[in-house]
Each structure stands twice: as C-alpha cells, then as structure tokens.
C-alpha cells in the first residue's frame, strides 16, 4: 500500500490534470448512462401516451437526450486529450526524477543493469508506471464516480433493484476479477521468469549458433528453446483465459441484473410503487452502467503488475550512493598528483578484500602500468581513483588533498577513465565524444580521434563524425568502440588519464600504435621531445619522474634538464606539500591535456615505455619495476617506433 501511495505522491504535480481527466471520463460515461435511461423512459412514455391518446411534453426529454449526446461526445474527446496530457506530463516528470535518483548512486549500484534481463525488466517497469494513471487509476476512480450516482439514481426509484445491481456490480467488477487474479497469480509471476528463460535460451541460440550447429546437430538445445517458448505461451494462455472469464462474468452480471430488474420492476409496477415508464429507464440505466464500468476488471488485473513494477523501480531509486560528498568540501586542488596510500577495498558482503594495501603514486608526468590477470582488482583500483567507491582502509589524495575532503565531482574534474564497461550512447560519434566535454570544438574532437587511432576510419565514413554508432555502438567493431572511448576521454582533457584494458579487441599492430600515440601525445614533455626542444616551449610539457607537479604545470618555465627526479623512487609525497601550484587548477593545457597516465592491463604491451610497472595479483602488488630508472631513462630512447 505504501508503494501505491508513493506512486500517487509522484503523480501529485499533475494532480490537477489527472483530476480533470477523471472527472471528464466520469462525466461522459454518466452522460451516456443518462442518455440511455432517458431514451428508455422517453420511448415508453411516448408509447403509453400514444396508447392512451394523451398528449405529453416531449420537448424536455428530447432536449435532454440531445444535451446528453453532446456532453457524451465532447466529454469523450476532452477526456482522452486531457488524460493523455496528464500521462505525458507525468512521464516528463517521472523520467528525470528516476534518472536523477539513479545518477546519485552510479556506478556502484547500477552494476546489475549490465544484465540484459534486468534492463529489459526495468524498461517494462518504467512503461508500466508511465501507463499507471491511464490504465489503472483513471478507470478505477472514474468507475467509482459513475457507479455511485447511477446506483443512487436507481435507488431513488427502487431500492431492491439498486441493491441487486450494486451486489452484481461488486461480484463481477470486484470479487470475480480478484478471485481470478489470485488463481492466476502463479502464472502471472511465472510470466516474468518464463520470459527471461526464453530470452536466455534465445541468446544461446544466437550467440552459440556456430557451436550448436557443430556440436548439437540433433537440435537438443533447440528442443529446449521451443519448450521454453511453449511454457511461456501456456502461461500467457492461462492469463488470457482469466481475462476472458472476467469479460464473460461482467456480461452475465449486466444481463442478469437486467432480468432481475425486469422481474422486480414488473411487480413494482403492478403494485403501483413504480411508474410504468420508469421501468425501462431503470433497465437501460443498469445496462449502460455495467457498460461504463467495463474497464474495471482490466484495471484491477493491472494493479499487481504496476505495484511490483513500482516496488522494483523505487528499490532501485532508493539505493543509497556509495559515497557521500563532504558537507564542506575543500576547493579543487591546484595540482594533480594522485596518491593511493595502503588502500584496501572489499565489496559489500565479500569474505575478503578485493584490494589489499595498494600503494601507488602518480605524479604529473608519470606513466604507470598496472599489469595483472582479470580479476586481480585493476578495475576496482579505477573505481577507487574515480571516487566512485570508498576504500575500506588506507586513503587516497589528489594534489595533496585527501579524497574525503573532496567532492566526487571535483576528483572527476581531474581524472578521466576509460573503463571496461564504458557506454556508447545510441547517438552520433560527435555526441558521444561531446559527453567528455560539451564545449569541445571540432578541432579538439578530431585531435582526440587522431591520437586514439580512429580518425582515418571516421573520415572514411560518409557522415564522418555525425555517423550514428547504433545502440551501444552496435555498428562498430569492438576495437573501434574501444578507440572511440579513448578518444572521448581525451576530449575531456583531464590531467590524469586512467585506461582500463584500452586495447581489448584491437589487433596487435593497432594496439601498439594506440599505446605509442598515447605515450607520445598525451605526455608531450617526454624526454625525447624535451631534449629536442630545450626549454620546453610546449605548454604542459613535463618530465617523467618530475616529482613536483607545480613545476610540471609550469611546463615551459622549467628547463628540461633540471630535476632528475631521484626522489620519486623514495615514494615522496608528490602532491600537496608543494604549495607552488601557481597555475590555476582549472587551466587546461593544449592538446590532449593529460599529464599522467595509469594503464591497467592484462596484456604486457609497450611496457618498455612505462616509468613504472606494478604487477598486481589477487588484489596485491607482487612486483614493482622501473624498466628504466630515472637515470637510464634519460639515456635511452623511450621505446621502439614501428
């Protein structure tokens, strides 16, 4: 019940429209009832007058018939228009509400939505909620508003007929649908699981098409799929039968009521307690009344599904955010060194830590690779760095400011993540890139695509950047999707770039090109360039191993040869101790803008060009290596060029 009240509360902003729609529905239904009743009375009264040779005032009733007809027609139209207006207004309020609620708790609490079944269910649930007013609330309330005055009208002439009509109405309109609903409740519940089962079988049929053709030539799996389909259809049949029984019950009640009204009415007429012309009036009134409330069983049938949908949607919307922003957040740090200090993390309910005591420093200019098999905790590391989840122990800091003092938004203003489950929206390539930064201009988009090794491919498309990528990027290959995601992160121009398996689905050559391009372009101040251009005219140019982010930010102001960075291996705090963040933190460098890079991968590719390689296994650092220490790094070229 509380779910229902909450659903009604959500409808409150549109209460005016909804009330108007319901009133109009009731009014037009009542006009129809009145039309039929008046017509019955009128015809009989005219017949009796005709037989008696008397005269009668036929102007009033025929004017009433005309008036009721007009009210009926206009009311129906107005009701439909207003009802849909109310529903669409409700939709326009519900969607942003739900979206904003879900946004609070993303991504940690939305993991489950990666499951296609749950997503399909959410879609159906939202559809149900959106139709709740038009399909459930409006017919039920309108039926009540029609039934009460109509029954009172009958009662004014004959209490027994009214009582009987009320009883039959309750029987066919409430008791029977509810009883049938209880009987078919199991089938209704199975409907959801049956649909999921059929879908699961079909996914196997489609995705396992080749393997089933080879390994299952007898079609054993196919038989199971068809059996799942048959089971689902059988349940649908049970529910359809309940609906048909509802309809038949309503029909029987309506006409049973007619027979009873005729029997009772004739004796009342004989006894003189009912005027002869009033009997056809009551008979037709009853029939029209049952006709007017005919939508009630269907509305009642929809109630459990709507409530279940509302329960699920509310549960999803009520999930608390994994992290709450501090009440009094520190300002955006001026510098951007990222430090993880003995960070541990465990998923809720998990018996042991996913990450145990990880320490990692990513000062500006540094390129760190975390290498480990899938499941070793790399993606969790990224979630922690993005301030999507809090550490169980240990702490993170950005530019020397502890994460607890920063808002999630501030952290993410500094870090871009290319995650393994990043989403491509069913929109154009351009729109997808603009998610990174809505203000990015064409040149910046192209530059990002060039670095991500996808620009030639986009330029070869007839619509270029305006090509529609399909739902979830379905029109692109896996490798193309990955590269587009990388490009989007580059468009965002965050100083820290975290790449979680960025080359999944790429062939080896493209993988190498992409990593090289990132290493070259993302960190324009690498030693080779720095040496080539002493004085580092490139803004944002920084040195690998530069421990002082302030200096790195100053870029050109610092001669490239300075600061051999020996302190780094000592694990010195690369962030906050340096107050010299003289550059405004919001200033974004040219080019891709990234100054530090954290690569999370299971594939040991281009590791020779990294400043540090951290081997992660089962949530623990098992080895650390610097392929070229600060000194040797300066001496040898930063990797082969293919």
């Amino acid at each position: 019940m509380s779910v229902f009240l909450r659903l009604l509360a959500l409808m409150r902003p549109q209460a005016g429209w909804m009330a108007l729609a319901v009133l109009l529905a009731a009014l037009s239904a009542l006009a129809h009832v009145a039309l039929m009743a008046t017509a019955g009375w009128f015809v009989t009264a005219m017949a009796l007058a005709g037989v008696a040779g008397a005269t009668m005032n036929y102007f009033t009733p025929s004017a009433m018939i005309r008036a009721f007809a007009i009210v009926r027609i206009a009311g129906r139209y107005a009701e439909r228009v207003i009802g849909h207006e109310a529903t669409l207004r409700f939709v326009a309020g519900l969607r942003p509400w739900l979206f904003a609620r879900l946004e609070r708790s993303a991504p940690a609490n939305l993991e489950t939505l990666r499951d296609g079944d749950l997503l399909a269910r959410l879609r159906a649930d939202i559809d149900r909620l959106e139709q709740a007013f038009l399909r459930v609330v409006a017919p039920l309330v309108a039926a009540l508003l029609v039934a009460v005055p109509a029954l009172l009208w009958i009662a004014a002439y004959d209490g027994r007929i009214a009582a009987l009509a009320a009883a039959l109405l309750g029987l066919a309109g409430l008791a029977l649908p509810l009883a049938l609903q209880r009987r078919s409740a199991a089938a209704a519940r199975r409907l959801a699981s049956g649909t999921a089962a059929l879908n699961a079988h079909l996914v196997e049929e489609v995705e396992g098409l080749a393997e089933l053709a080879i390994y299952d030539p007898d079609g054993i799996h196919r038989q199971r799929t068809l059996a799942a389909s048959d089971a689902l259809v059988a349940d649908e049949n049970l529910l359809a039968r309940a609906a048909a029984l509802d309809g038949a019950g309503m029909l029987l009640a309506a006409h049973g009521q007619l027979i009873a009204a005729l029997l009772l009415g004739l004796s009342a007429v004989a006894a003189g307690t009912l005027a002869p012309a009033d009997l056809p009036m009551l008979a037709l009134l009853g029939l029209a009344l049952f006709d007017a409330v005919g939508a009630v069983p269907a509305a009642l049938r929809a109630v459990p599904a709507v409530l279940a949908a509302a329960t699920r949607v509310f549960a999803l919307a009520d999930r608390p955010p994994a992290i709450r922003d501090p009440a009094d957040p520190a300002p955006l740090p001026a510098t951007t060194g990222l430090v993880l200090d003995k960070v541990s993390f465990a998923y809720p309910g998990a018996p042991h830590d996913t990450l145990g005591g990880i320490t990692l420093t990513l000062p500006p200019g540094r390129r760190v690779a975390v290498v480990g098999p899938s499941g070793s905790g790399k993606s969790t590391l990224a979630l922690l760095a993005m301030r999507f989840v809090p550490p169980r122990a240990g702490g993170l800091s950005l530019g020397g400011v502890a994460y607890e003092r920063l808002t999630g938004e501030a952290v993410r203003e500094r870090i871009a993540l290319v995650g393994q489950h990043d989403h491509l929206f069913g929109a154009s390539i351009r729109d997808n890139l603009l998610v990174g930064d809505p203000l990015a201009d064409e040149a910046r988009l192209r530059e990002a695509c060039r670095i991500a090794q996808i620009l030639p491919l986009i330029e070869a498309l007839p619509d270029g950047l305006d090509t529609f990528v399909g739902a979830h990027g379905a029109k692109l290959s896996g490798g193309e999707v990955r590269r587009l995601l990388v490009a989007r992160a580059l468009v965002a121009r965050r100083p820290i770039l975290i790449l979680d398996e960025p080359t999944e689905g790429l062939d080896v050559a493209t993988e190498a090109r992409l990593l090289d391009a990132l290493l070259d372009e993302v960190l324009p101040g690498n030693v080779l360039r720095g040496d080539a251009k002493p004085g580092g005219t490139k803004p944002g140019g920084s040195l690998p191993g530069d421990v002082r982010p302030g200096d790195a930010l100053l870029g050109g102001a610092q001669p490239s040869g300075a600061q051999p960075g020996g302190t780094l291996s000592g694990g010195a705090n690369p962030g906050g101790s340096q107050p010299g963040g003289t550059l405004d933190g919001d200033a974004r460098p040219e080019g891709s803008g990234a100054r530090a890079l954290l690569l999370l991968t299971h594939r040991p590719a281009r590791l020779a060009r990294m400043d540090e390689i951290v081997r992660l296994e089962a949530g623990r650092v098992v080895a650390r290596r610097e392929p070229h220490g600060p000194r040797s790094r300066r001496a040898e070229p930063a990797g082969p060029t293919p």
Partner: protein, 595 residues
C-alpha cells in the same frame, strides 16, 4: 508504402496457421449476434406485455426463461470468441518462433554476423509475441464489426425502415470518416508510436550510460536533457493526438447521435401510434449494440498497428541472406559421431574456391590449397583477408560461390551436412557456455553423456582440477545465472568440448587471443595433446600458435599469398615475413610481463 504492405502481407501469410480457430471465432461471433437480437426481442416482448398489456410477471415465465437462456448463450459466445481469438494466436506464435529459428539456421553465423544478437533475440521473442494482438484482438473485432451490424440491420429493416435508414446512413459514414481522418492521423500516429519506442529506448540508453555520464560529471546535464526531451515529446505528441482523437470523436459522434435520433424518431411514431411499443423498444435496444462492435474496432485498430510494427521487424529478419548450407533431409544417427580414435584425420582440398557475399563483397577468390590428413595448418593474415571464411566454408556456414572443396577426396556438397559436422570440433575465440552443468557443456549435444569421457576430456584440457574445486564439481551449473568462470577457464572448457567430441577435423579460431600468458601456455600445451591423429586448421594471431603448425597459410585479400613451413616462409622474406614483423610480433617481442 510497399514496405508497409510487405508487413501486412507477413501477417496475412500467418493466417492459415490458425484458420480453424478463426473460423470458429467467426461462428461464435455469428451466434453471439443472434443472441443479441433475440435478447432485445425478448426484453421488448416482456416490457410490452407488462407495461402495455398489463400482464403480471408470473404469466411471463416462458419469455423470462428464454431470456435467461439467451443471456447465458450470449456470455458463452463472447467467452468462446475471446478464447478462440487467443487460441489462434497460440497457434501462430509458437509456429512463428519455430520458423524464425529455422531462418536463423538458414542464415547461419555468417548471415547474422552484422546484427547484434540482442536484436535477433528481440525479434524471435518479442517480435513473434507482437503479432499476437492481431489474431487475438484485431481479427475477432473485425469479424464482429462486420457480422453483428449487418445482422442487426437485416432484422431491423423489415420492422422499422426509418431506424434502419439511420443505421444505413451513419454506419458507412463511420469507416468513411475514420479513413478520411485516420489516413493522415495513422501516419502521424505511427510516426509517434516509433518515436515513443525510440524515446523509451533513449531513456534506457541514458540509464545504462549513467556510470559513464557520472565519470564525466555529465549526469546533471543529462537529467536536464531527459526532462527536455520528455517535455518536447509531450508537446509534439499532444499536437498529433488532438488530431488523431478526432477519428474517435467522429465515431462517438455518429454512434451517439444515431442512438439519440433513433430514440426520438421511435418516440414520436409511438406517440402518433405508427408503430408498436414492442417494435420501438426492440429497435432502441439494438441501437447501441449496432455501434458497439464498430467502436470496438477503433481500439482493436491499435492492436493491428502494434502487430504491424512487430511484422516490420519480422520481415527485416526474414530478409537476411540465407548463407548457410541448407540442412540435408536425412537424419543421421548418433553412431557416426567422430571417427575411431587413432585415425589420421581427414584430408582437405580447396579447388579454386571463391566466395562472394550477396552484397557483392568478395571474401575469397581462387583459393587453392591442400591439407594432408593429420596435418596442422596455421592460417594468418590481416583482418578481412578471408581467414574466417575458410573455416566457415568447412563448417557449412557459407557455401562457395565458385570452385569446390574435397574432403577425403569427396566433394563436400555430397556429404550429409549433419554427418559432416559430427566429424568436426570447433573452438572459437570465445567459446560460449550454455546454461547447464559443466558436464553438459563438455558433452554438448550428446544425448547420452559419458562421464568417464568427460573426465578424460577435462584432464586433457587442463581444467579437471579447477572443475573439481567448483562447489558441485562437474555438476556445477554454469552459463547464464550459473557459477561465473574466467575467460581462461571458459576457453579450456571449450577445449575439453573438442576433446570430448574426438573428431578427426579440428577448427580453431585463435584460441589464445584473449588469454594471459599463463593460461595461454596451458592451452597451447593441451592443443599439443589434441593434434595427434587429427587434421587441424587454426587461425593464428600470435606467434606461439604458429609453433605447433606444420605449415602456415598466408591469406591476403581473399587469396592465398603463401603457403609453407614457418621457417621457410620467414627465410623467403615474403608476405609472411612482413606480416611477422608488423602484426604478429608487436606484443610478444615487446613485453615479457612485469613479473
């Protein structure tokens, strides 16, 4: 327009499947019409006797009893018509799903390659379900809309020509105006309908993208966008609906005005004594029944629109090219599974094989090579060079458009498809797990799984220990909703599947592409065990895969560029050598891991 008629034709084609039910539904509707007329006559008779002839209720036992019977008949026929409509749908939906799955087989993996699997699943599950309202609601409604008004007209006309005239004049006006207004409104309506579908898809897309939006601090931006889209949609839709509802208004107008007109006309003739009360009341009672089925048509029209939308997707799916080799009719027995172990595999010969896809894309051109029984051949080449097409040809997922393939000297098309496939084991890049136990997955497709063989296969694939550590060992449920396995474990299960199949021809699509170094080593070792006595074709992306190959086939733009032992090809400095230097060595030469 022609597209739309194709969708309608698709629905028409399905009708014969449920001919019996639809005919019975029509009979029920006819009988229901008779009951409606009879009921109106009996009610008019009773009221006439009671009010005009002043007869007491107890003298009217016969008409009352008849009335009760007729009401029962009416309820029964309404129920029957409803049920028969759904029964028709129940015949159509499963048959349709079956035929869509058959279509899936005909298209084959190559035919559906460009479609996302979710889309195909939606067509078979929801698309088939989507045509249901056409059979369960629209067709019965059409029947009733034709049968009942005509029946009523036939009865009323001899009794009351004036009321019949009102019916005759207004009834055709209803469809006429509906069509007139509906034509424009329907187009708008359908556009709006699709728009709505797209929009709810859009919201879902945004919800799925929430983690991404949040990562870019774009969530609140999107909340505003969602609100604006929904509000824009409301304004646009209401403009359309205000017009679309005019068709319903027309219907309502004629139905209501006609009833009012009939009542007034009947009333005056009664006053003037031109007709009897019994006849007058009879006509008045039938007036709403005359228009009711026509009004119901209006709502059923929505069902048709939904079904047409579903049919559109079905037609699109049916139009996918049939690329797979059609199944041969003969049912081969299971006894032919695999050849006796120890046989030397099969010999393959590609004779001038060409493959051109329906769109005109040339995948293979003049491919000519031989593989000796028991030989292992690695296939290398850039993506799109035709490597996968070679495997697809051997499995019958595509048929050559030129040349022929000989298997042990016999032309492939002369070998029964099922028998041929039984002699193949196939390991794709990412083997697919099917919901069921680990044992079911290893003995996939075997109606009588052999436990001992399953265990041997698991051992050979170096996965037996891992399986033993699972909660229920070989009975642990995996796949959708089951125990989650890592990519490497799934790959080794796929390998165990191949060991279990024990087939003379093994086809592999770079089985180590997505594995880390340790798992790759395990898999390579197992593959070494699988080789003896079998012919193996393996697509290779990685150096380690080449080491087991007797010869290497280099594909380039659908042609054989080179073929020969790896060392010889490297020494020759040709295509393979170039490929080796760029594509193949990247990762392996560069990194040895960080450990």
């Amino acid at each position: 327009m022609s597209e739309k008629s194709a969708d309608a034709a698709c629905l028409r084609r399905l009708r014969p499947l449920a001919r019996r039910e639809l005919r019975l539904a029509m009979a029920a509707a006819l009988l229901g019409g008779v009951a409606i007329v009879a009921q109106a006559w009996l009610v008019a008779t009773i009221l006439h006797a009671g009010l005009i002839e002043h007869r007491a209720a107890d003298t009217l036992a016969t008409p009352f009893a008849l009335l009760a019977l007729v009401v029962l008949l009416r309820a029964a026929t309404a129920y029957a018509a409803d049920r028969l409509g759904f029964s028709a749908a129940m015949r159509v939906v499963p048959a349709l799903r079956k035929s869509l799955l058959a279509k899936l087989d005909r298209a084959g993996p190559a035919g559906v390659a460009e479609r996302p699997s979710g889309e195909i699943v939606a067509v078979i599950a929801d698309g088939a379900r989507g045509v249901e309202p056409f059979f369960s609601r629209y067709l019965p409604a059409v029947t009733q809309a034709v049968v009942i008004p005509l029946g009523i007209l036939a009865v009323v006309a001899p009794l009351d020509w004036l009321s019949a005239l009102v019916f005759v004049v207004t009834a055709p006006l209803i469809p006429f105006f509906m069509v007139l207004i509906g034509k424009g409104a329907e187009a708008l309506n359908q556009r709006q309908w699709r728009h709505l579908q797209r929009m709810s898809g859009h919201v879902l897309d945004a919800i799925q993208g929430l983690p991404t939006l949040r990562a870019y601090n774009a969530g609140r931006r999107m909340v505003r966008a969602v609100a604006e889209t929904a509000d824009g949609y409301r304004r646009e839709t209401m403009a359309v609906l205000r017009l679309a509802f005019l068709s319903a208004l027309t219907l309502e107008f004629f139905a209501t005005v006609s009833i009012a007109l009939v009542a007034v006309l009947v009333g005056f003739r009664l006053l003037w004594g031109e007709t009897t009360y019994q006849h007058g009341l009879f006509v008045l009672l039938l007036a709403p029944e005359f228009y009711l089925p026509l009004r119901a048509m209006g709502t059923a029209y929505h069902a048709r629109m939904e079904a047409l939308g579903a049919a559109e997707r079905l037609v699109a799916f049916e139009n996918l090219p049939d690329l797979a080799r059609p199944a041969t009719a003969t049912e081969a027995s299971h006894a032919t599974t695999g050849d006796a172990p120890g046989s030397a595999g099969v010999a393959l010969r590609f004779c001038d094989v060409g493959l051109v896809f329906p769109g005109g894309r040339r995948a293979l051109d003049g491919v000519e090579f031989e593989v000796a029984a028991g030989e292992t051949l690695a296939i290398v080449g850039a993506s799109g060079a035709g490597k996968s097409s070679l495997l697809a040809l051997l499995m019958g997922f595509v048929v050559p458009t030129a040349g022929k393939i000989l298997i042990d000297g016999v032309a492939m098309e002369e070998i029964d498809l099922a028998a041929l496939r039984r002699r193949i084991a196939y390991i794709p890049q990412r083997p697919r797990l099917f919901a069921g136990s680990v044992a079911d997955n290893i003995a996939l497709g075997d109606p009588a799984p052999d436990r001992a063989r399953i265990l041997r296969a698991a051992r050979a694939a170096a996965i037996a220990e891992r399986i033993a550590a699972l909660p229920h060992a070989f009975d642990t449920m995996v796949g959708d909703g089951g125990h989650a396995l890592s990519g490497g474990e799934v790959q080794r299960l796929g390998l165990a599947r191949a060991f279990y199949r024990d087939a003379p021809l093994v086809l592999l699509d770079e089985p180590t592409a997505h594995l880390d170094a340790e798992t790759e080593a395990l898999v390579q070792k197992s593959l070494g065990l699988l080789r003896p006595g079998r012919t193996m074709l393996t697509i290779a992306h990685r150096l380690a895969t080449l080491q087991h190959a007797d010869r290497v086939l280099v594909m380039e733009a659908g042609r054989v560029a080179e073929i020969g032992p790896e060392a010889a090809l490297r020494a020759a400095g040709g295509r393979f050598d170039a490929l080796f230097r760029t594509a193949l060595d990247g990762a392996d030469a560069d990194g040895d891991g960080a450990a």
